[in-house]
């Protein structure tokens, strides 16, 4: 496989793992030599894993970061998040993000061309976003998140001052 995408997420309904089992997307991934790596167990996928979609089982945080670094992009299919930690980690690792165009993503990543967004649900927009990824091969950028991240010490002080 030429391209490796990483999708670190537990098997929850809003994470949309089921989209990866759609025959059209599976065919697209296979034809274009793309492999998606998931952090769920094979028996959770409810379908026979293929070379295009592989299940690595739950990984700890350090292993997730290591795997993200050796991947070509982060794929993130979640419908909602309070934060979306993998997005921050992907940006820090200077990896492109392929994700829904949703508020949680916009707030962290803004309009940066560093990532590719698809705008509606279903498999077709994912395929077209992947095509854009394959054609563009976005280059890592220096600018990171739209919002500044504060040190934990500062946040802890603000917590205690607020109550």
């Amino acid at each position: 496989m030429n391209y490796k995408l990483f999708y670190p997420a537990s098997l929850l309904p809003h994470k949309n793992h089921h989209l990866l089992l759609e025959p059209k997307l599976l065919d697209y991934l296979t034809v274009n030599n793309i492999q998606v790596r998931l952090t769920i167990n094979e028996d959770q996928l409810l379908a026979k894993p293929t070379e295009a979609v592989i299940c690595l089982g739950p990984l700890n945080h350090d292993d997730c970061i290591a795997l993200l670094r050796e991947s070509d992009a982060l794929l993130f299919l979640s419908e909602f998040e309070s934060l979306g930690l993998p997005l921050i980690e992907a940006v820090n690792a200077r990896k492109p993000v392929i994700s829904y165009d949703l508020p949680y993503c916009r707030e962290l990543l803004g309009d940066s061309p560093y990532y590719i967004l698809y705008e509606s649900e279903g498999v077709n927009p994912i395929c077209s976003a992947l095509t854009r990824f394959l054609l563009d091969q976005p280059k890592p950028r220096q600018s990171l998140l739209v919002r500044d991240t504060l040190p934990v010490s500062t946040v802890w002080s603000r917590f205690l001052n607020a109550i």
Binding site: H61, S82, V152, A162
Partner: protein, 170 residues
């Protein structure tokens, strides 16, 4: 003494976020008089064990107390009973909660909100948890959100609240 309550934290993502605070409290020389509560056999517990081994004894002089509860306390019915009846303010001055549900009997309290299913979850179970959340939250509760979009969504579902919106390093 202040309380950091993370007894219900077990997921990988929430453990990473919560642990960044626990690690800071254990290792920082500037922090004292904090009790950190978590549960055994959790992802967070494994991370704390490692941090404790690295800082062995360093925090004992600063009165950082680590309290590990049995994993049974992560069960939602038990978890919610504790949140409903435990009179936190009898023992603690202030409290920061990391596991989704606030204490009903704690006037000086900050809830770190990182469970989007409480807002967006559409299953019966999440609707029940939303109901439980409504019963536990009080007007004096302060809530910390990581992003503005989740704060706005919270206000749409639960109404206005005292809030902070801080994105921190992990």
């Amino acid at each position: 003494m202040d309380l950091l309550w993370a007894a219900g934290v077990n997921g990988e993502g929430s453990s990473v976020v919560t642990f960044s605070f626990v690690e800071f409290l254990i290792s920082s020389e500037d922090v004292s008089d904090v009790c950190i509560v978590y549960t055994s056999e959790s992802t967070l517990s494994a991370k704390i064990a490692l941090a404790e081994a690295c800082n062995a004894g360093n925090h004992s002089s600063r009165n950082i107390r680590l309290v590990r509860l049995p994993k049974l306390c992560r069960l939602y019915p038990i978890h919610l009973l504790v949140k409903y009846f435990f009179p936190v303010s009898l023992w603690f001055r202030r409290c920061v909660v990391f596991d989704d549900f606030p204490f009903r009997l704690c006037p000086r309290q900050l809830l770190y909100f990182h469970q989007p299913n409480l807002i967006f979850g559409s299953t019966i179970l999440w609707k029940l948890k939303r109901l439980a959340f409504m019963m536990l939250k009080t007007k004096r509760l302060t809530i910390s959100f990581q992003t503005f979009h989740i704060r706005d969504s919270y206000v749409r579902v639960f109404g206005n609240c005292k809030s902070l919106c801080l994105l921190h390093q992990v």
